[in-house]
Symmetry: C2
Subunit: 426 residues, 2 copies
């Protein structure tokens, strides 16, 4: 066994022990811990900012993009926001202990299905250091121990944040090992985590294709992937054109770099011309590049403002998460064709139909097999906060256990408690 | 790509297409299909029994145990029971389409969390041919396509049953590929199934350690394990001795070969002597062999009837699923020690405390991290039927998605439907 493997195993063992202690705490005890963690983050601001400055310096030397540098950089305002975020989580309702269902059998055996912590949650992520705090805090709130493994570019910031959180937690009586950050950032560390199903109850990868693939191919425990969002909007024959324009602009332009932004728009042939005259022009005014199928390209070329923005789409454009002001455009002849395109090209994240036709809308809502399906609204609402869940680990693109926004409830599982008076089975 | 891999991939593709069709059917349409499948099983009785006779013949030639032969053998009565079982599932409520929760956000966006089929369910099992029907039927009821892979010893029976089910389903308008049985029984088939995450949404292994390990180490999709049950009963200092005796006898002897039977009994030191005088004698009268720790062996040796039945336990005895009239016995000094033993030696399946002490019982119910925890009742109630679920795929020993009895509801997942009036995000 390598030194690294031994280190990771020792983390697993410590986290499992901590998880059993955490599971026995009530909501008040955990909230006291969370508030102490929030204070500790503020107290450690100098150390966190110093560590972050080193990360940023290394990132600049390595020539990371300005967008990456921005995601990585912390300042006093961001540190305060991190601390404030912890206080907000403390104020949320604790799902642990909730009775999901209770019934009594004819033999008088009482059955309760209750929410319990999952145990030890592994979170593997890249880039933004505030994920360290967000993820650890949501796990603590739900009585789970966390093993975090962040990316190399933010390792110093992550270590400083995790240290602050741990100190805050343990000074308030929470187990010291409730939050553990793996100090090793090479890929072998992920592989060892993935093998450790005796300690790790679930693993949540948030990141790019390579990271997700490493986890999926090695994990022995359940994986809840936070993968790409190829979100698709379908403009039906009966779409309100004004609403269509507002929703397309919002879903594409309001924040193009996130997973619930739209990447493809499907347009019913009967409204193509009017759609291009309205939404097409609006997209042009925002500088959105269009990747068009043949019929939509012909229409686009009639609009001078779109001339230098529209070009022919390749098949790959309809399977790409652009995360940028680029939109793929395709003409369809029916709601069936739209559903078929979404099922075969989308990522089952968030898809929308814009229409005043109730029958078409209900078919779309029923038949599109995505985590969230919309009728007459922007896909940008797929978000724990927007759903009213308060905070989220992310958006699961998996189907089981957690689908869509993964918040406090999705960080719990259940068990059955049966209370009897000596019942035996016949 | 090997021929086998191509075959398995073609099954996956066909099942995925069938799953989309199945998901669009309402409860009535699926029930018509189920009743037709029940009829078809009766109509195919001669072919099923003929195929089964060949399986039994081969099993006899291979020298399988009498218990295995019994599990394998079908007769007209068992075929009728299989058909009757399908009718019972048809009569159950369909969870698909149920609204789990509905709420409206301040911006008037309406959110519904509704139950939907999982998609394509892979079930890998051994031995009993009636699992072919049970599993396929529960999946059909919940709108899932199934890919079944049974063991080699029952392959002819399984093929005949699957053919009968498929014909019944398709003659009633259900997709022909809703139920597919892999005709190849070598382990490579399992490995190919495990890789096929583009088609298979979940895989459920039911069987021995080797089978489960193959699936866990190869699967790219979620796995819901149906693994062993090392169920533990704790006789507290305040246990009612009469109740203790009835529950121990029931949990150990009523059907020792099943996963919810007890394998270990922990006895509080203060009642050891009385427990041995009552339950000990009762176990002896049933011929149950005892594997005792040092203090319990001393007590056992004082009872003549136990002389030839009790012997010193090895450490392994406390981690063994005997599935036989063998019971491990250990003395503990507190409820804490009992919980600690269960957490480290049990399989987190079903564990019970027998006591009249409410405080001890509630601590046990809260702190034992098992799928089902009991107070004053036999662990034998961990069963979909006994829970009132009507039928079950099995008992999940996993923590996520399905924990404990896995029935119709656990064969569904959820999605969010959002209905708006043009909402965009600020």
């Amino acid at each position: 066994m390598s030194n690294l493997e031994e280190t990771i195993l020792s983390y697993g063992k410590r986290a499992k022990t901590a998880a059993r202690k955490l599971a026995r705490l009530n909501a008040r005890q955990k909230n006291v811990g969370l508030l102490s963690m929030a204070d500790s983050i503020l107290r450690h601001e100098p150390q966190i900012l110093e560590a972050n400055a080193e990360d940023v310096q290394k990132a600049l030397e390595r020539g990371l993009s300005a967008a990456m540098i921005d995601r990585l950089t912390l300042d006093p305002k961001r540190v305060r926001a991190m601390s404030e975020g912890i206080r907000e989580v403390a104020a949320l309702e604790d799902p642990v202990g909730q009775v999901i269902r209770e019934w009594t059998r004819p033999n008088a055996l009482n059955i309760r299905k209750i929410r319990v912590p999952i145990g030890v949650v592994g979170i593997i992520y890249e880039s933004r250091p505030n994920v360290t705090s967000d993820a650890a805090v949501l796990c603590t709130k739900t009585g789970n121990a966390t093993i975090l493994r962040g990316g190399s570019e933010s390792i110093r910031s992550n270590l400083a944040i995790a240290k602050a959180l741990s100190e805050g937690a343990s000074s308030a009586g929470l187990p010291e090992d409730a939050i553990l950050l793996v100090p090793v950032t090479d890929r072998a560390a992920i592989e060892h985590l993935c093998k450790m199903d005796q300690y790790l109850d679930v693993i949540v990868p948030r990141g790019g294709k390579g990271l997700i693939e490493t986890v999926v191919s090695h994990a022995r425990m359940p994986v809840i992937k936070h993968y790409d969002g190829i979100c698709i909007l379908y403009m039906d024959a009966k779409a309100d054109l004004k609403m269509a324009e507002e929703i397309v602009i919002n879903a594409k332009c309001q924040r193009p770099g996130v997973c619930n932004a739209a990447e493809t728009v499907l347009v019913h042939r009967s409204i193509l011309n009017k759609f291009m005259e309205t939404t097409g022009r609006a997209l042009a005014s925002r500088g959105v590049q269009l990747r068009c199928d043949q019929p939509s390209l012909v229409e686009a070329n009639r609009i001078p403002e779109l001339n230098c923005l529209a070009k022919a789409a390749t098949p790959d454009d309809f399977r790409t998460e652009f995360l940028d002001l680029i939109l793929a455009l395709k003409v369809v002849d029916s709601v069936d064709e739209a559903i078929e395109h979404i099922e075969t090209h989308g990522s089952h994240h968030s898809d929308a139909i814009i229409t005043s036709d109730t029958t078409a809308a209900e078919r779309f809502l029923a038949e599109v097999d995505s985590a969230t399906v919309y009728w007459n609204a922007s896909t940008r609402f797929t978000d724990g906060g927007e759903f009213g869940f308060g905070a989220e680990i992310g958006i699961s693109t998996d189907k089981l256990h957690a689908r869509g926004p993964m918040a406090l409830e999705e960080l719990t599982t259940y068990k059955y408690q049966l209370r009897g008076t000596g019942q035996v089975r016949n």
